[in-house]
């Protein structure tokens, strides 16, 4: 008498043999999970003649030859980008020959930390280039807002600008 485990294994082996598929040229149907059932056998069980499959393989072959594999079919897809504005190039302002005895505006955009950092720059100039005069200014408005009055003052009274963006 076989032991229980061996009996179970034997039954499983018998089931696998019953479910074994025919050669891959036969039409097969997947019924979910890993079970694969021969289509001709299925049609017979349903009372239909497997003869209805007679032309299918040939037609299938024909289709298969006419089209490339799905993964190689090419598509033309549209670019989703909008329209960026044209860019007007802005020449840089002429440089100073030297900063000695010049006035440098130190401008903060208002972001936390920029004011303290610019203060340290002012201290650096006092220590290392004492002839340089620094003027601290907080730009008006939000971070990206223009401050025309400040730009006018700088053009009138300053020679250069160091602008700090904080963070």
């Amino acid at each position: 008498m076989l032991k229980a485990g061996a009996r179970i294994r034997a039954k499983a082996k018998k089931r696998r043999a019953e479910n074994r598929t025919e050669p891959s040229s036969s039409p097969a149907v997947f019924l979910g999970g890993n079970m694969k059932i021969n289509r001709r056998k299925l049609l017979s069980l349903l009372g239909a003649s497997p003869a209805i499959l007679a032309g299918e393989a040939a037609a299938s072959d024909q289709k298969h030859k006419a089209l490339p594999p799905a993964t190689e079919i090419k598509f033309e897809a549209l670019n989703p980008h909008g329209m960026p504005p044209s860019i007007q190039l802005v020449p840089m302002a002429p440089r100073q020959a030297s900063l000695e005895n010049k006035t440098i505006y130190l401008v903060s955009d208002g972001f936390p930390g920029a004011d303290h950092f610019l203060d340290q720059i002012s201290i650096w100039f006092k220590k290392n280039m004492p002839s340089v005069t620094t003027q601290y200014r907080l730009k008006k408005g939000g971070f990206a807002d223009d401050d025309p009055a400040l730009w006018t003052e700088i053009k009138d009274k300053g020679n250069a600008v160091i602008m700090a963006i904080g963070h």
Partner: protein
């Protein structure tokens, strides 16, 4: 001078503003929170990009003669690439994703056929310019886009042609779903009018969740339009959100539950007729659950007004409050005496206060009350309003009435746009 964390942004932004050779020196990051000694050490150290001593570099930037390139003027038109891309489906998916055109999830490939079908969703000319978007107004140049551009992105998002008018109206609002800020902001859109039922939008159970292709594809399209038509959402360049925001995938899309709400619909409050189809957009931080607010467990009727006040505590003053209430909560608030939204707004604005000494320690909070001439007279224990007016508090009603819950967003109402115009 810019910290190293913003190097790409600074260089890219300078170029887009016509100054590709702007002389920028970089410091270590961050500046904020560093002591004076630490900041001075930055100055005595090196530029982390060039490796050269920083202050001599700054002085050189101000004194070295200009090169020929730095003196150039004229106009340059940036290219966005060819009008079409041809490849297999798999390669197109990778191409769109690797070139920043998606939300990193598979798209519906926008073939001409699909886009033509999408364009049937509107009577407008495909070449009509409908608006402009920028990751941050004033900081980045705005891009323009047409009905066709939006339709392409709507196809990619998986929308049906019938949803296009809503997507066009959100696109026409000029509010991107992806802001450049380090804050990781998010957006919301509230849809009112008969179109909600016509398209079978979800305003019942799971209204703000992944339970409707209409709601989901509209929200997704908003992000794709923002990325592709507004040049938003390019990390390090036009997107600096330090942690990002999960809401950006689909945004908060709310079809207001007008039939179960005891109050006037949101769009009617804003002056539109009930039968008009309107989308109202909001901008700010994220949204949080309201359960656990003070008074929320009281019986027989929970004190939802007190609960809302409690949930307002962590909200900043730079944005308002958007309370999203299940109809059961709205009905309970009516029982408490708030038979109109305006009464609720008035009570909330009056009672949403905080002490001056607390506001001074809180980021982005206190607002106008802490500035101006009157601020000098304030004492530490004085109470100031979190928001100066009721216009910063908004309520919409949505949900399937499985329980009286609500959510609160730190968001401000931006504007309302007609959907009917884009039919």
């Amino acid at each position: 001078m810019v910290t190293i964390a913003f190097k790409d942004l600074a260089l890219s932004n300078a170029a887009k503003r016509g100054m590709p050779h702007e002389r920028i020196c970089f410091t270590p990051h961050p500046i904020w929170g560093k002591s004076e000694a630490e900041m001075y050490a930055y100055l005595e150290g090196n530029d982390p990009v060039t490796g050269k001593p920083l202050m001599p570099e700054v002085i050189g930037a101000l004194t070295n003669p200009l090169t020929a390139d730095e003196q150039k003027s004229g106009t340059v038109t940036p290219s966005v690439g060819p009008p079409t891309f041809i490849d297999t489906a798999d390669n197109l998916q990778k191409y769109y994703m690797n070139n920043g055109m998606t939300d990193f999830m598979p798209i519906i490939i926008p073939t001409q056929q699909k886009v033509d079908a999408m364009l049937k969703g509107t009577s407008h000319d495909p070449e009509e310019v409908i608006g402009e978007l920028t990751p941050a107004r004033g900081s980045f140049p705005a891009w323009k886009y047409t009905v066709r551009h939006v339709a392409i992105n709507a196809v990619m998002a998986g929308a049906a042609p019938e949803y296009l008018p809503i997507i066009l109206s959100i696109s026409a609002s000029g509010l991107p779903s992806l802001s450049s800020s380090t804050n990781s902001f998010s957006t919301a859109a509230v849809i009112n009018g008969p179109i909600r039922d016509k398209l079978n939008m979800n305003y019942g159970i799971g209204a703000m969740g992944p339970f409707s292709d209409v709601n989901a594809s509209i929200g997704r399209a908003w992000t794709l339009v923002s990325k592709n038509c507004g040049n938003c959402g390019q990390p390090g360049e036009t997107y600096m959100g330090t942690q990002g925001n999960a809401l950006n995938f689909g945004n908060i899309i709310i079809a207001e539950n007008e039939k179960d709400s005891p109050w006037t619909p949101f769009h009617v409050q804003k002056g539109f007729k009930k039968e008009e189809n309107i989308v109202s957009v909001f901008f700010g931080y994220g949204i949080a659950q309201g359960q656990g607010g003070l008074g929320s467990a009281m019986k027989p009727v929970p004190q939802f007004d007190q609960g809302l006040l409690y949930n307002f505590i962590p909200l900043t003053s730079i944005f308002g409050a958007l309370a999203v209430l299940d109809p059961l909560v709205a009905q309970d608030l009516v029982t408490l005496g708030y038979d109109t939204k305006d009464k609720l707004y008035a009570w909330l604005q009056k009672n949403a206060t905080l002490k001056v000494k607390d506001a001074k320690t809180m980021l982005f909070t206190g607002g106008a009350a802490l500035r101006g001439p009157q601020a000098a007279a304030l004492k530490d224990d004085d109470l100031i309003p979190r928001w100066p007016s009721t216009s910063l508090i908004n309520v919409v009603v949505v949900g399937g009435q499985t329980n009286p819950y609500y959510q609160v967003a730190n968001m401000s109402y931006s504007r309302s746009v007609s959907i009917d115009k884009w039919m």
